[in-house]
């Protein structure tokens, strides 16, 4: 099966995802004058990037609807960070274009970057400044007035649990605390678009929860979020839309539920008997194969309904006592693995 076969067309239009426009100073290109905005917050068209003879990103297009939390998933080296770097203006693409809330990143980088808050994967804050100084310096780049930036910095430090360490040099901070300062810098100006590249990688549980809560909070405040992550559960819990990239090419885009349903065929039934049984028992209609998992058997099937009925009949016929039986739901992880596995 070719990976292109998995490409899903969800039918989700940007305007179908709610996203209050609380940034009246930014005029969306698609404002029809009716009060309804038909615009993607981030539009990346046909991005391509070669490093020597290696193609890191090949004709990637993304449309992140305004108000969405959009997950960008892929295995290591798939091209996620390269794509994010081109979207944020850190890396110049060989081909293609990026628009952020209607502003072309290449033609007007200053205006485009003003609309973004970015946490780069390979970026951190200044170790020789205090937590507060880092936030205030960042706020100056966005032209915030002194009173506004001091008030906002105090709010964010409180929200991220760093008020007591605000005057400490960042060099003395743990990785999780540094990442929280990085996030504080990214959201200090309440950006309409928040872009986070692997924001939770390597963090402890507390810091990870704070990051996730902050992402949700910012989205609730109206920010559109684009994030890359390795954590499938995180993407499943946070994202309204997901794109999966493999070897520099987008292989699927859709809502997590749509992606999961694509791999509905990969379902299984887990069953445990009181008596020991062998693999030969499971030759019945609807059962593709069986694997022993500890004290249970995992029965793979294209049709869980038929498989469960067959298993009940087999148990009855063989006078076996069923201890437990459960059908699996398709998981996003299964979809991710299937989409990104080597052909």
């Amino acid at each position: 099966m070719r990976h292109e076969d998995y490409v899903i067309h969800t039918g989700i239009s940007p305007s179908s995802i709610p996203g209050p426009n609380r940034y009246p100073h930014i005029t969306p290109a698609g404002n029809t004058g009716t009060g309804i905005f038909h615009m993607d917050a981030i539009e990346a068209h046909n991005l391509r990037k070669n490093f020597g003879t290696f193609t890191a990103v090949d004709d990637v297009s993304l449309a992140v609807p305004e108000g969405a939390i959009f997950g960008f998933l892929g295995p290591n080296g798939a091209g996620k960070t390269t794509t994010i770097r081109m979207i944020t203006g850190v890396l110049i693409p060989d081909a293609g274009s990026v628009r952020v809330l209607g502003t072309d990143v290449d033609r007007d980088p200053l205006a485009a970057k003003l609309k973004m808050g970015v946490i780069p994967e390979n970026g951190t804050v200044y170790s020789d400044l205090t937590a507060l100084q880092n936030i205030l310096v960042t706020a100056k780049f966005f032209g915030m007035a002194r009173a506004a930036r001091e008030k906002r910095a105090a709010e964010i430090l409180e929200m991220l649990g760093l008020s007591e360490r605000k005057d400490d040099i960042v060099r003395t901070f743990s990785k999780g605390m540094r990442q929280r300062i990085s996030i504080a810098c990214a959201i200090v100006h309440s950006p309409p678009v928040l872009i986070l590249d692997e924001p939770t990688t390597g963090l402890d549980v507390y810091s990870r929860r704070l990051v996730i809560d902050t992402v949700r909070h910012m989205n609730g405040q109206g920010s559109t979020v684009l994030l890359t992550t390795h954590n499938i559960d995180e993407a499943n819990a946070l994202c309204s839309m997901i794109s999966i990239i493999r070897k520099g090419t987008i292989v699927a885009t859709g809502s997590p539920e749509k992606l999961k349903k694509t791999f509905d065929t990969a379902r299984y039934v887990e069953i445990a008997f009181e008596q020991p049984v062998g693999n030969g028992l499971f030759a019945a209609p609807g059962i593709s194969r069986a694997e022993q998992w500890g004290d249970k058997w995992r029965i793979y099937t294209d049709d869980p309904d038929t498989a469960v009925k067959s298993l009940a009949a087999l148990a009855d016929k063989g006078h076996l006592t069923i201890v437990s039986i459960a059908t699996s739901s398709p998981t996003l992880e299964e979809a991710f693995v299937r989409l990104t596995e080597e052909v």
Binding site: L91, I92, T124, V125, Y126, K140, F142
Partner: protein, 248 residues
């Protein structure tokens, strides 16, 4: 292009650089001590006329202080991984280059002015033209801070590589810039070689300002320095843009 945003980004980068890299105890002490050591090295025991050679000493000092820290900023930021975050902020390459340049120039002018004032009081230096002296200070500081920014541009996240490159470029410039032998006493190929160094024109400008014994007209010195600034900034931009394309 929104010039207001560009100006703001330059100002914030300048302030950030001065706070993080320049106005720290060890850097300021080094900036003040270095010319004193250079003074001892070149003047003590050589029976030189201090007033005659002071323009050369002043030029050398402005040259060193303006170009000393600048070459290290970008490699240091790449190593510390703050560079990637910086360029994702509302800045463009010009903001970073000019911000780095201004921080170096301000540091060079501040340190050199302190030393000049002390020396002027102690040595009763002549002052032929205060305006030319001010222009020399400003143009010289910007020129060599721009040289520092150019030296910071090659692809590396290892500051020691840039230190080596910086020494390779800056030290020879001192010896071919008419600091130790007045330009008027040079001739032949040595004079031609000397005319290739921008430091020559700064020293000549200081000669015009202090002793009134310049070889070139001050406008020519100033013009060469302005051209050098443009070439250094253009070179830094070309190299740093190439780095952005290559993703390094």
């Amino acid at each position: 292009m929104d010039w207001r945003i560009l100006g703001r980004s330059i100002a914030v980068i300048t302030e950030k650089n001065m706070r993080i890299y320049y106005f720290k105890g060890p850097v300021v002490v080094f900036g003040l001590l270095f010319p004193f050591i250079m003074f001892l090295t070149f003047f003590i025991g050589r029976n030189l006329d201090i007033v005659l050679f002071f323009p050369g000493f002043l030029g050398m000092m402005l040259f060193f202080t303006s170009s000393s820290v600048g070459p290290l900023i970008t490699p240091w930021e790449k190593r510390e991984k703050t560079y990637e975050r910086l360029i994702s902020l509302p800045v463009i390459l010009e903001s970073i280059i000019i911000g780095d340049l201004l921080a170096g120039a301000i540091f060079g002018v501040a340190i050199t002015a302190v030393v000049f004032l002390i020396a002027a009081l102690l040595l009763h230096l002549p002052l032929a033209h205060a305006g030319i002296l001010a222009i020399g200070f400003i143009l010289g500081a910007i020129t060599f801070a721009a040289l520092g920014t150019l030296l910071a541009s090659p692809t590396t996240d290892n500051p020691s590589n840039i230190m080596m490159l910086s020494s390779l470029v800056r030290l020879p410039l001192i010896f071919v810039s008419g600091i130790f032998i007045p330009l008027g006493q040079l001739g032949g190929w040595v004079f031609v070689l000397t005319s290739l160094s921008p430091l020559t024109y700064l020293v000549d400008l200081f000669h015009a300002a202090l002793n009134g014994d310049a070889v070139y007209p001050p406008w020519l010195d100033a013009l060469v320095l302005v051209l050098a600034i443009l070439v250094f900034i253009w070179g830094a931009k070309v190299i740093q843009k190439r780095n952005l394309v290559k993703g390094i």
